[in-house]
């Protein structure tokens, strides 16, 4: 069983295709690992054992009938809990959506389903993707599989932890200001935030609409390229979706960076960057240089303006996006209230956590009459300037290389006490969203505490292939490392236990415990 769990998504897909591994077998292995690791990691809000096993059988039939031939057919996946899944609880890790079951499935998830994915469940996240540690979840923290005293990063912390702990073969995350790349870095996995408009946002519960993108999280670059190729599509239901005919991302999986021009922003290496992280990043750059890339440092400029611009724009959009959660149509409604406005007030006061409230207030403020020009408009101008700075950089470089985060994963509780510090942790990832660029995190070592360090590669708009090529070439210089907990299932023998269950017996073990508890309390 552990053999299966250690496979990458594409490796497993190959074995399934060759009938070396059954879809049910792979699904049971993942579910067994979930049972074994969840008490410590808590990467999931909802695990759908029964649904996954049933789906595994259906997919196996389709594979046997030759109807599904793609590289991901039959491979079990975890979905961040801000993507709508028809008939399956979708909470955004918020009490206000504790009971929300969508009537439709997000386009990106549909694309995976068409490719034969088996959905294991929904992963924990910072509430409404607002946070960098997954600690703002209403359903409990997710712990870093490398060290449970540390956070997995966020907001896609559940997805990244699930991949690192072998609780799935790959996962989808979403990235508004670094929410795929930063937790990928903290958990030692690979994640891509594509060019804005590449993956449909239809069915992704919006945080900052102009910045949100769905992307893959997996064990290596090959997986990420294959997953991105599958989920990318032009969707007429999303006005910001861009038709592209260059989504054959796997064609860029070449160990060849000869002549590739790589720039390292000096601004990314200065004050605030942890020494061990810096050393690992520069060592990674060296590897690429030795493989023939031309690497040099340059001044990107405007980096310090990215954080305030981001928090103004994202919060402004969030304050409006989240106004639909009002207790009228779905989700939590306060038990006691007097009249309509009191119902709104109480439902929202009870339903949203402190970080979400903070951003709704910040966003409402910057959009208020009299402040709009000074904050929101200025932030939009800053965003345009940051894009220009990147445009200039990409005249000279194919790829921009740097850290994904100033430090490795902090301890639980460390960041929450100081939100400003948490916001500053997003400094290397945020400007990529503001400029709409593709960015990727690839593991590049560990610090003395044993926590993973991530290398961030940034490309120009629509140039995912450049970062995929650079990431793939770099990846060849090292081997994938798993945390101890990823091997736990075999040791505990839980996998053998779950291997015996059938879809019928497993039925009913749906939503995570935290969600159920809040559900009862709120009703």
């Amino acid at each position: 069983m552990s053999d299966i769990l250690e496979m990458t998504a594409v490796q497993l897909g190959g074995k399934i295709k060759n009938r070396e591994v059954g879809v049910a077998e792979a699904t049971k292995a993942a579910l067994g690992q979930i049972r074994a690791a969840e008490p410590v990691v808590h990467a999931y809000v909802t695990v759908d054992e029964a649904g996954a096993l049933k789906r595994a059988e259906e997919i196996q039939k389709q594979i046997d009938a030759g109807e599904l031939t793609g590289p991901l057919a039959g491979v079990p996946v975890a979905i961040k809990d801000n993507m709508c899944t028809e008939g399956m609880l979708t909470t955004c890790s918020s009490k206000i959506l504790y009971n929300f079951v969508p009537t439709y499935t997000a386009e990106a998830v549909l694309n995976l389903e068409k490719a034969g994915a088996v959905i294991l469940g929904k992963t924990n996240m910072d509430e409404f993707a607002m946070g960098s540690t997954t600690e703002t979840s209403a359903f409990g923290v997710t712990r870093n599989p490398w060290n449970p005293d540390h956070v997995p990063g966020g907001s896609s912390g559940g997805s990244c932890a699930a991949v690192a702990a072998n609780e799935c073969f790959y996962a989808l995350g979403s990235d508004t200001g670094g929410s795929i790349r930063q937790p990928s870095s903290f958990c030692g996995v690979t994640g891509i935030k594509p060019t804005y408009g590449t993956v449909s946002r239809y069915g992704l519960i919006a945080y900052g609409s102009s910045l949100d993108q769905i992307g893959p999280i997996a064990k290596d670059v090959t997986d990420c390229a294959a997953i991105l190729e599958t989920i990318a599509s032009h969707d007429r239901k999303d006005s910001t979706s861009i038709p592209r005919d260059d989504c054959d991302f796997t064609s860029a999986l070449k160990d060849d960076v000869k002549g590739m021009r790589i720039g390292i922003p000096r601004d990314y290496l200065g004050e605030g960057l942890d020494g061990e992280v810096k050393a690992a990043i520069l060592a990674a750059a060296k590897v690429l240089e030795e493989k023939g890339a031309v690497v040099e440092e340059f001044d990107l400029s405007l980096v310090e303006y990215a954080i305030p611009a981001y928090y103004v724009i994202a919060s402004a959009e969030a304050s409006s996006n989240l106004s639909r959660f009002d207790g009228v149509k779905y989700g939590l409604r306060a038990k006691e209230y007097e009249g309509l406005h009191n119902m709104y007030k109480r439902s929202r006061s009870e339903g949203f956590g402190p970080e979400v409230k903070r951003r709704i207030m910040l966003g409402s403020f910057v959009l208020s009459s009299g402040y709009y020009d000074a904050y929101y408009l200025k932030a939009l101008r800053t965003k345009a300037l940051i894009k220009k700075a990147f445009d200039r950089a990409f005249e000279k470089y194919d790829v921009i290389l740097g850290p994904a985060s100033p430090s490795t994963a902090p301890k639980l509780g460390e960041s929450l006490s100081d939100p400003l510090k948490m916001y500053l942790g997003d400094i290397y990832t945020i400007s990529v969203n503001l400029a709409g660029l593709p960015g990727m995190t690839v593991p590049c070592g560990r610090d003395l505490k044993g926590l993973p360090i991530g290398l961030q590669l940034i490309g120009d708009c629509f140039k995912e292939k450049n970062i995929i090529r650079a990431g793939y070439a770099f990846e060849q210089s090292r081997t994938y490392e798993s945390p101890e907990i990823a091997k736990k299932a075999q040791a505990d023998g839980v996998a053998a236990d779950i291997a015996g269950i059938t879809p019928d017996i497993a039925a009913g073990n749906g939503a995570g415990s935290a969600a159920e508890n809040t559900g009862k309390e709120a009703r």
């Binding site: 709508c84 992704l204 919006a206 609409s209 102009s210 006005s239 959009e317 639909r324 959009l367």
Partner: protein, 479 residues
Amino acid sequence: MTKQYETVIGLEVHVELATKTKIFCGCSTAFGGAPNTHTCPVCTGMPGSLPVLNKQVVEYALAVGLATNCGINQYCKFDRKNYFYPDNPQNYQISQLYLPICHDGWVEIETAAGTKKIGIHEIHMEEDAGKLIHDEWEDCSLVDYNRSGVPLIEIVSEPDMRSADEVIAYLEKLRLIIQYLGASDCKLQEGSMRADVNLSVREVGAAQFGTRTEMKNLNSFKAIARAIEGERKRQIELLEEGKKVIQETRRWDDNKESSHAMRSKEDAQDYRYFPDPDLTPVVISDEWLQAVRDRQPELRTEKLARYQAEFQLPRYDAEILTGSKHLADIFEATVALCGRPKEVSNWLMVEAMRLLKEKEQDPEDLSFSPENLAKLIGLVEKNTINRTVAKTVFEEIFANDVDPENYVAEKGLAMVNDEGALRQAVEEVIAANPQSVEDYKNGKQKAMGFLVGQTMRAMKGKADPAKVNQIVRELLAEV
């Protein structure tokens, strides 16, 4: 009242566009479905759903903008207007604030003092809200989202109107333009055209406008006229008493013929408008704009001139016929079938309008086919039926769109042209009315009319009165 006051009025007119589907999703805009049956994740504001703009909405807005002499923002955007209310499922309305599609236009209206230009500040596109149903028995409120996302344009005038008459003339003008464009049916009663009235008064000659109020819930031209008169009086009274007009939104109650304050400017909401990040800017290319321009149909003013020139109709006729696009369409279709424009015009202007008035209907409600009117005119022309019979047949056409040829045959309404039969009828009438014959002989011409009438009655109206007249005269001479 010692001072002379002038009323200053500007209008915000909402028009529901005649698209088949909603502005941001594919749901039907049809009226009358069971609650929440014309809905989807988008128009019910489900999490994760996204709006996609209906291109036809842009085309209708452009058509109205061009017909009202507006400038077009070929790069325009949608903004979110944030406010909490359950009829608004996202708790924001997608509208246009910063870059509306049309701006700075005008229309001309006819007033007692001649032609006057009314400025149009802007026209913007937006979505309609759902409908709240308050169940007083159950002490709860329900929401129907069938109307949520139905496309609207809001036409904002300049404060250029000075009286209720001018307001009505302006609304009539807009209604005709929009109906002619096919962009909306513009029915005030059904809410497909809604007007909010901004009104202030000032002393004649004053340079500054007075403080204005906004009046809502006006759903007929009569209500608008009454509301304007009521609000003008209320404001003047306040000023005369030395009080101030408060800038506020007021709700007109047409039954009580009075208004009450809904909210003042002080507690006006901050809508926190910002560009909707889910929608890309609308870029209207020169080609697209030209295509819309090329497709613009003949508007009322042009049609009015053409009817006088092409059909030699009097201006009076042409005005009535073109006063409704639907009526004009019936007129043209009928003329195309049977020619005789003046005859067609007479049927529509006199008989059709009379019946509409009786039934308290609008020309838009006319539902008979031009084929049947053309056939009726043919029957009269061929002397198959006389005019009196034709009028009763028309009533049947008006009500049930009957085929007049079948109807006349079935009911035996065709005129009797058989000389022998007519002669016999007249003989019988003469024999039965010796007194009238006597009177006629004594020079009473009226008596002859009586005898003709009696014959027509005996023939159940199915005779040519001219012919009956002639036979009566002949036979009286022989008596």
